[in-house]
Amino acid sequence: MDGSSPPPAVTTHRLIAASAPAHDVERADVEAVGSVAYRKLYKKREPIYPKAAQGVFRRAKWAILGVLLVIYYATPWIRWDRGPGRPDQAVLVDFAGRRFWFGPIELWPQEIYYITGLLILAALGLFLFTSLFGRVWCGYACPQTVWTDLYLWVERRIEGDRAAQIRLAKQGWTLDKIGKKAVKHAAWLAIAAATGGAWVFYFGDAPTLVREIFTGAASPTTYGFIGLLTFTTYALAGAMREQVCTYMCPWPRIQAAMMDEQSLTVTYRKDRGEPRRAFRKGESWDGRGDCIDCKQCVVVCPQGIDIRDGLQLECINCALCIDACDAVMEKMGRPKGLIAYDTDLNMDRRSKGAPERFDLVRYRTVIYALSMVGVAALMLYSLATRQTLQLNVIRDRNPAFVTLADGSVRNGYTLKIINMQPRARDVTLSIEDAPGAVMTIPGATVAGDVAHLRAAPDAVTETHVFVALPREAVHEASHTITFAVSDAVADADGRIAVDRNPTAFLSGVHDDD
């Protein structure tokens, strides 16, 4: 297919090396599936059978995985009492009702900028963490990593670890194999369906939805989204795995711009490891590197790469190779950390004999941190001083103005009074800076330029208003008049809600006549 001479045996799954080891370190005679030497543009996916790792980072990753999954699955079930007639789900995106509920916060569609703010915060946070600790997001928190890890765990429960999986793959279709594969895929599908199921709970009342889903009463949209997320979870975490990170995800490309030579990344310390060579008992460690070429870092890698090739786009910094190599070093009686979180700069420093250092405080990190604080402060301020009574004014365009029989000029406006409180409000609508203005509102009592209206609770009340100005008061083709709505009673915080909105009053008149 590639036309070139095929690479030498890309994956040979032999477990024990030819040269008898003089220690109890397991050796693997393999080439990394995604090793730099054999990476091709058009190549069929080589299956990767990552070996289970054990160590500090593996334990940390299990803990983080647990916490994240609990957050994901449990959040929709947290209740939050908001009083009668309002949803009691703590986190709810209500598309039909056009509200976003987040604990005590209720957001309207026009306040979507808070979501924008959250996204900006998340992006800045990602930038900050990337410039400090490299791809920690990829390694620990990304859903692709979390779910793939979970799927791998299930796979090992059923098919065994790497060696058993490879054996199973090579063997013919026995009943045992069919059984194992069936159980595995069923378990994967169940997890995928639960993932899709949990997703829809964020968009509707979870207890109601779960009943509807199982009785077949939920909407086709609900089933559609569950199906879609079931499929993507199954496909991305079960089948595509490392390909998502390597080929689909933009983040590996973007992060290259976020990192610098001071960012921590999972690094093979070649200054210490090379020249690598298998270790024979009694051999001296002088004149050779600490890497004994046992390739345990390669077999645990879920991305199918060899960290010893250097910093690579494929590496998600999951740190499992650190765990693998640390175990080897321990057995060999060498210091841990042949593979470790390190920076380019420190490798450089060590090679020059200078002391290592790691600066948390750098221009880049300070700027990211300050921007985050700034955005967060801005959002908090705007949330705290948020208007719960708002007035939108839309001027009639056709006709722009109407001259009446007595010479006075009339304009029409559609007012939208937005009441974000759960109580009906008696509001006063008035016109400012237009003496002599006469307001007419169908169905409402109006005294000159002041009217009393009722704003429905938690809703937009729309009213059409005519405003007439006597001929003597009109001097220009366009005047500015200001509508104001104010609540009759004070809010819970003691403030009386008021909103003003200036608009144009057109007359077609020029002041010389």
Binding site: V402, G443, V509
Partner: protein
């Protein structure tokens, strides 16, 4: 693409298609499998589609497909469903009087929406999309009415039309004073000058005085001695300055040169516009909805209180 000179690209090791464009060759990589699968799936889909749906033209028509689907039938179905859905509200609209309908917010909203749609389909051609009118076509937003601005007046006008084919059509006829030689050209100019004066314009005194006499003799019978018009015979009020037969821009900006010309032209020709009768075209409920819509545009008058007909009161009509 002859086999014997298969050209292998040195860099990638892939065969090229054999074509060369300004030194650029195309690699002959196989198509991705997923792409091919989708491609074949689309072909399979189109075959299924031909069987299921109308697809091929024939000499006399087209193949209808197993589903016998037709967009036109679907639209017709949706339209009749919509009609059926709205029927109860239209019915309710005819069970109460137009005034009562205006007092009921739900019914009023429905009538306004239905009226607005009907207005756009039927009336906007002449009166404009915003009912703002034009030269010779009344503006329905203001409080100037030739035949009355109450709900009943408006409904009746829509029903029978003006100078239409309907037996009870609203009808008035202004003589073509100039054209038919009833007045000389100078007399027409003088009368026009008096109308300018009535409307509060900068009239030339001597001409206006001469015009006043002519007005008293020729025009007052219909337009009234004070020029305030008479709605019972559709004679316009000449004192407002809102001339129907003048350019609306000139009316708005009080361009008296232009207005004066329009007044002279009107006295000369006595032209009158035509509004069709809608009784045969629209059902009574739609006409009522139209009347309510037009009445709600801002200039509608209250039915009971004749005092409301005074311009200032009508402008700020408190009953609505």
């Amino acid at each position: 693409m002859s086999e014997h000179k298969k050209d292998i690209d040195a860099h990638s090791g892939v065969a090229t298609t054999g074509h060369e464009w300004d030194g650029i060759k195309e690699l002959d990589n196989p198509l991705p499998r997923w792409w091919l699968i989708i491609f074949y799936a689309t072909i399979a889909f189109s075959v299924v589609y031909w069987v299921m749906m109308p697809a091929w033209p024939t000499l006399t028509g087209f193949t209808h497909g197993v589903r016998n689907y037709s967009d036109r039938a679907v639209v017709a179905q949706e339209l009749s469903a919509l009609k059926a859905q709205r029927a109860p509200e239209f019915e309710r609209l005819m069970q109460v009087s137009a005034e009562q309908a205006e007092q009921d917010p739900a019914l009023m909203n429905f009538a306004r929406a239905a009226g607005k749609a009907a207005f756009g389909d039927n009336c906007a051609t002449c009166h404009g999309a915003g009912a703002q009118g034009g030269k010779g076509y009344p503006n329905l937003n203001d409080n100037v009415w030739l035949w009355g601005g109450t709900l009943d007046d408006i409904e009746h006008t829509i029903r029978v039309g003006i100078r239409s084919t309907h037996a009870d059509a609203r009808f008035s006829q202004m003589p073509a004073f100039g054209k038919d030689g009833l007045l000389t050209e100078a007399q027409v100019t003088d009368a026009a000058e008096y109308v300018v004066k009535l409307a509060g314009g900068p009239a030339k005194d001597a001409a206006a005085v001469r015009g006043a006499t002519i007005f008293g003799e020729q025009c007052a019978a219909c337009h009234g001695a004070d020029g305030k018009g008479d709605r019972t015979q559709g004679a316009p009020n000449l004192t407002t300055g809102l001339f129907l037969k003048a350019d609306p821009a000139a009316v708005a900006s009080k361009d008296w040169t232009s207005l004066r010309g329009s007044i002279v032209a009107q006295i000369t020709t006595g032209s009158g516009g035509v509004m069709p009768t809608w009784e045969q075209r629209l059902d009574p409920a739609t006409i009522r909805a139209l009347a309510i819509y037009v009445h709600s545009l801002g200039g509608g008058e209250a039915t009971v209180d004749p005092a409301a007909a005074t311009p200032a009161a009508a402008a700020t009509n408190p009953t609505r």
